[in-house]
């Protein structure tokens, strides 16, 4: 169930658009902000608020790779696998992350600390290879630097 704050936030978004369903992406982000992901129950509840069917809203939710429809870890690592990062050593970074965390793309560590996902581009080709953890951009990555960075996220 959405709490009162979330409902208020969704209501505020609804006011900004001429049609209810136009607010659907923002509404999904509001839910994800608190819960980390959008559960089936939340999806159904939001669909009701937005005048959409669950199928319609799920179509939107699953289209965007940064709306999560399954639980994720406390921190989400988005590792860029696009051309510039690939050239600059993305494969080493990925190998390093896999070794250190024991997970592949799409998986979450057993302690629920990290989820590892690929990102097509983070928009900082000049500082490749790059990744993003939660809202923080991490640039010019090397193996040792990755270890240092990960340590900051418990």
């Amino acid at each position: 169930m959405l709490n009162e704050t979330e409902k208020e936030e969704v209501a505020r978004e609804l006011e900004r658009y001429p049609t209810r369903q136009a607010a659907c992406i923002e509404a999904l982000k509001i839910v994800q902000k608190r819960h980390g992901y959008v559960s089936d129950e939340h999806l159904a509840e939001l669909a009701g608020l937005l005048g959409m069917t669950e199928d319609e809203l799920d179509g939107v939710a699953t289209f965007y790779s940064l709306i999560f429809r399954r639980p994720v870890g406390r921190h989400v690592i988005l590792l860029c696998d696009s051309v510039s990062c690939y050239v600059m050593g993305y494969e080493d970074i990925y190998r390093h992350l896999r070794g250190g965390l024991g997970i592949e793309f799409g998986q979450t560590t057993a302690d629920g600390r990290f989820t590892l996902l690929p990102a097509p581009c983070l928009g900082c080709c000049d500082r490749a290879p790059a990744m993003m953890i939660d809202d923080d951009l991490q640039l010019d990555l090397t193996g040792p630097k990755v270890d240092q960075i990960l340590a900051q996220y418990q």
């Binding site: 049609t19 089936d40 999806l43 959409m52 069917t53 669950e54 199928d55 319609e56 809203l57 799920d58 179509g59 699953t62 289209f63 965007y64 790779s65």
Partner: protein
């Protein structure tokens, strides 16, 4: 017509369409996926690439998508050049990258558009070496099977299901190379048109789940042109048979009737033909028990009963052909011929016929799609005449599409047109007792019983034609609504009035006529569409028998002591007591293919052929006579009803044409029905049309367990079709098309080869013929109907809380007797119920799903209470479910007391 050049050859093409349509209409081969003739172009799949040249000197050219390119004078393209051939080969290669190699176990195999296109582009070797993406499939209910690994992401399914049919429980999930076409959760597809996914999908993602139960390849099916028997619209179908059982039903394109599609009742209702409970043997009652007899003995016994009768009553059937009903009429005499439509519905059908004869003209379903304003009076078309729902869903797009015209956007450009229209919809009024599915696209909804809807219709008519009287008892909100609706109708280019028999109100049908005629004075393009309950309701009414009430009276008073009942269950027509007292001590000859109470009561039972085992003519709600043909010869004692009756009557009709000839001379108004299809002696190149494909397998082995001598194909003296693979297998006249197939085109997409042009009529002349010319015959126009005239007494709007006015509520799955024998469909029918408004339920102390007993005149019904928030107070609806005791509606009843727990 304009000239275009394809590979340096000049062709005549129609201006205004797109290049893919033009190329296909010319009979040339060009592969495509995302384009569909009914849904237009989106340019998504990139398969129909061709090379477009600037002029004769241009040797380079550029690749364009044919489906996105308008046809213009002098257009110069190539299909055969290396550049576009390579492009198309690459496209199919990537579309096929994830497609499984499962054709041998795929239900689509052998009629797969993807297979055909792959062969057409000569893609025969897979270079992709990696793991294919795989999906979990969903249970989409009893009709449609889901196997998503086969998907090539053409988006046709979602464009049909959501965009065209307006359903919202299906969607595209995921993104980039993992796109999932399905539902958020497993569950039955909610649309009444879900079965069309099977034909719309170019490959085996969506396949017919009922076919899977008794699977047969397309080339092994024996097929014939047929007409749907599950409602009054007369959609054209292709049923397929193997080993004596019907395997599936597909849509048979008709440019004026059903177009490319069918509803799920029409597609999945066929299994009554295969039911083991079906009467299959001739029977005679001996010592109170029905016992099997030979066909000849039963016929002799029936002849004896009919011959020795002191008075005959013949009960015809709205689900039997014109020929069978006529044969009965000839047997018993016109004065003893009665309608087998429930009397209250019979009154409505006859009134509908009268209104159609007066006019204005009634539209075909295709014409309904093109109307730009519509009012629906008292009908729940989604449940009563489902394909009319689909047509109205297209009609509400017509007015906003004017925007596209103004911006000079071609209407076949589906993407831009939809983007432009968004949620804009043309004027549509739904006036009905309870909420209907079409409410979601309506501009106005109006909740009321029949009398209130009559008042609204008459008030609207009065707004359009000041010479009409103001209806009595008109309240302010209704008057305001009438003004608004009238203004929208007057402004429309082709306005439409829809009503019919669904409410059981004769006055409502008259009022619809009054409104349509008032509208026609303003705009001669105004049309009146009226629904009827059964596949031959109108044909039966045109034969002009008496009402079934009179049959009961004749039997009760002993004027008749022998009844001959054709394909009707009398217990469905009148309350049990009335039927039983009328039949007491009477003799009963019954012809039917459905098991039922009348069959059990028969003294002689003659097993009748279903539509799949019979030839005949049905008259749909527009008065269009259409011929259906035997799909397979009847087995055992089963014979077509008209043949049984002809033998009984001592007519030696050699074939169907003889029946039609006698019909034409006896009833000249019906004579044009003879021309619904070519006669039995019609031949093409000296050949009959083959019901079996030229690839039909096992012909010589199929009976090898009995004899190694190949049996002679059964004779068919009645039609220009043959039960054989030997015969004409090209493009026959439209009424005789047994399947759509053309070299290189094994799927339903072969259809474009049979059309004169894309979306145009089939080649070889019209299929079916209209029997009614408005203004030519029939009664005089009634210009006024009193909103208070019906006998029902207290009406919604004139509330009387002590009593309830009960009107029928129809169900696509449940109301029609034949389709209810299909397990897939019966499983989706509601339990018998009485729908009540929340206020009336509260007053009676009733809760949802509670058992109640409702007392109707002469009949008590055990029902569940359903609370319908949309119902006005004082109004109730009775779920019309096949096989439940018959009651006459509309009816006034006391609020039901709670039944025993």
């Amino acid at each position: 017509m304009i000239t275009i050049y394809v590979d340096n050859q000049a062709y005549q093409a129609k201006a205004g369409g797109n290049l893919l349509e033009a190329v296909l209409s010319l009979g040339l081969n060009l592969p495509y996926f995302c384009w569909h003739p009914a849904m237009g172009s989106v340019g998504a799949c990139r398969q129909c690439a061709v090379t477009l040249y600037k002029d004769e000197q241009d040797t380079q050219g550029k690749i364009v998508m044919a489906c996105m390119t308008p046809v213009k004078e002098g257009l110069r393209i190539s299909l055969q050049d290396r550049q576009s051939r390579d492009f198309r080969a690459r496209v199919i290669e990537w579309l096929m990258a994830n497609h499984p190699h499962d054709c041998p176990v795929c239900d689509e195999g052998g009629e797969c558009h993807l297979q055909d296109m792959t062969v057409m582009t000569a893609h025969d070797y897979r270079r992709y070496r990696f793991a294919k993406r795989t999906f979990a499939n969903q249970d989409l209910g009893p009709f449609v099977n889901h196997e998503l690994n086969r998907c090539i992401a053409c988006y046709r399914c979602v464009r049909f299901y959501n965009d065209y049919a307006g359903a919202r429980d299906f969607s595209v999930l995921g993104c980039h190379n993992t796109v999932y076409f399905g539902r958020s959760q497993s569950g039955p597809l909610e649309s009444e048109f879900s079965g069309n996914l099977v034909e719309v999908c170019p490959t085996g993602v969506f396949t017919d789940k009922t076919l899977k139960e008794h699977y047969t390849r397309k080339w092994d099916l024996q097929t014939a042109p047929s007409i749907c028997v599950h409602c009054g619209l007369g959609c054209n179908t292709i049923p397929g048979e193997r080993y004596g059982t019907l395997r599936r039903v597909q849509a048979r394109y008709h440019s004026q009737v059903n177009g490319y599609f069918l509803c799920d009742r029409g597609r999945y209702g066929y299994e009554f033909v295969n039911r083991p409970e079906r009467p299959r043997t001739a029977m005679i009652r001996r010592d109170g028990q029905l016992a099997a007899a030979s066909a000849e003995a039963a016929l002799a016994a029936a002849r004896e009963l009919v011959g020795s009768a002191r008075g005959l009553a013949g009960v015809g059937s709205p689900r039997a052909s014109l020929e069978s009903n006529f044969a009965l009429r000839q047997l018993v005499g016109a004065e003893n011929f009665y309608s087998g439509q429930a009397p209250w519905l019979d009154d409505c059908v006859r009134e509908a016929l009268r209104q159609l004869q007066i006019g204005p003209a009634t539209p075909s379903l295709r014409q309904v799609e093109q109307c730009d304003a519509a009012v629906v009076l008292g009908e729940d078309v989604t449940n009563f005449a489902p394909m009319l729902d689909l047509a109205i869903r297209q009609a509400v797009r017509v007015e906003p599409m004017e925007l596209a015209r103004q911006l000079k956007i071609d209407l076949w450009l589906d993407g831009p047109v939809r983007e432009l229209i968004q949620d804009r919809r043309g004027p549509l009024l739904i006036a009905s007792p309870a909420a209907t599915k079409l409410d979601e696209i309506a501009r106005w909804t109006y909740r009321s019983g029949p009398a209130g809807v009559v008042r609204l219709a008459l008030a609207t008519a009065r707004e359009l034609d000041a010479s009409l009287p103001v209806p009595d008892g008109l309240d302010e909100p209704t008057a305001r609504l009438a003004k608004e609706v009238a203004a929208a109708l007057a402004k429309a280019k082709s306005p439409l009035v829809v009503s019919g028999c669904g409410c059981g109100s004769v006055e409502l049908i008259q009022a619809a006529g009054v409104l349509a005629r008032a509208l026609a004075k303003v705009n001669s393009a105004a049309r009146l569409s009226l629904t009827v309950p059964d596949c031959n309701s109108l044909g039966l009414a045109m034969l002009g028998g008496k009402n079934f009430r009179q049959a009961l009276e004749a039997l009760r008073l002993g004027r008749a002591d022998t009844a001959v009942v054709l394909e009707s269950d009398l217990w469905d027509l009148a309350p049990t007591d009335a039927v039983e007292s009328a039949l007491a001590g009477k003799r009963l000859v019954v012809l039917d293919h459905l098991p039922g109470r009348t069959v059990q009561r028969a003294d002689v039972l003659l097993p009748a052929g279903t539509f799949a085992e019979a030839d005949g003519t049905l008259v749909n709600n527009e008065g269009r006579a259409q011929r259906f043909f035997q799909v397979f010869p009847p087995q055992g004692d089963i014979r077509q009803s008209w043949r049984w009756l002809g033998d009984l009557a001592g007519r030696n009709w050699p074939n169907l044409d003889a029946v039609l000839a006698e019909l034409s001379s006896a009833l000249p108004d019906l004579a044009p029905a003879t021309g619904a299809a070519p006669q039995a002696n019609f031949r093409i190149e000296g050949l009959k049309v083959a019901r079996q494909s030229h690839r039909y397998s096992g012909r010589t082995a199929i009976t090898a367990d009995v004899t190694v001598h190949e049996p002679k194909p059964p004779d068919d003296p009645d039609t220009p079709l043959t039960f054989s693979m030997e015969g004409f297998d090209g493009i026959p006249p439209a009424a005789l098309v047994p399947r759509f197939w053309s070299p290189g085109w094994n799927s339903q997409s072969a259809l474009t080869r049979f059309q004169q042009e894309v979306n145009g009529p089939l080649r070889g002349g019209p299929a079916g013929v209209r029997l009614i010319n408005p203004g030519s015959s029939g009664g005089t126009a009634v210009s006024a109907v009193s909103g208070e005239s019906d006998q029902a007494g207290p009406q919604a709007g004139r509330l009387c809380y002590q009593k309830l006015l009960v009107v029928p509520a129809w169900h696509i799955y449940g109301s029609e007797a034949q389709s209810m024998q299909s397990p897939a469909l019966a499983g989706r029918a509601p339990r018998p119920y009485l729908g009540l408004s929340p206020a009336d339920a509260a007053q009676a102390g009733l809760q949802a799903d509670q058992r109640i007993t409702a007392q109707f005149d002469g009949q008590s019904l055990s029902l569940e209470a359903r609370i319908l928030p949309s119902l006005p107070r004082g109004l109730a609806v009775l779920g019309m479910l096949a096989g439940q005791p018959a009651v006459q509606l509309p009816a006034i009843i006391d609020p039901p007391p709670k039944g025993a727990p």
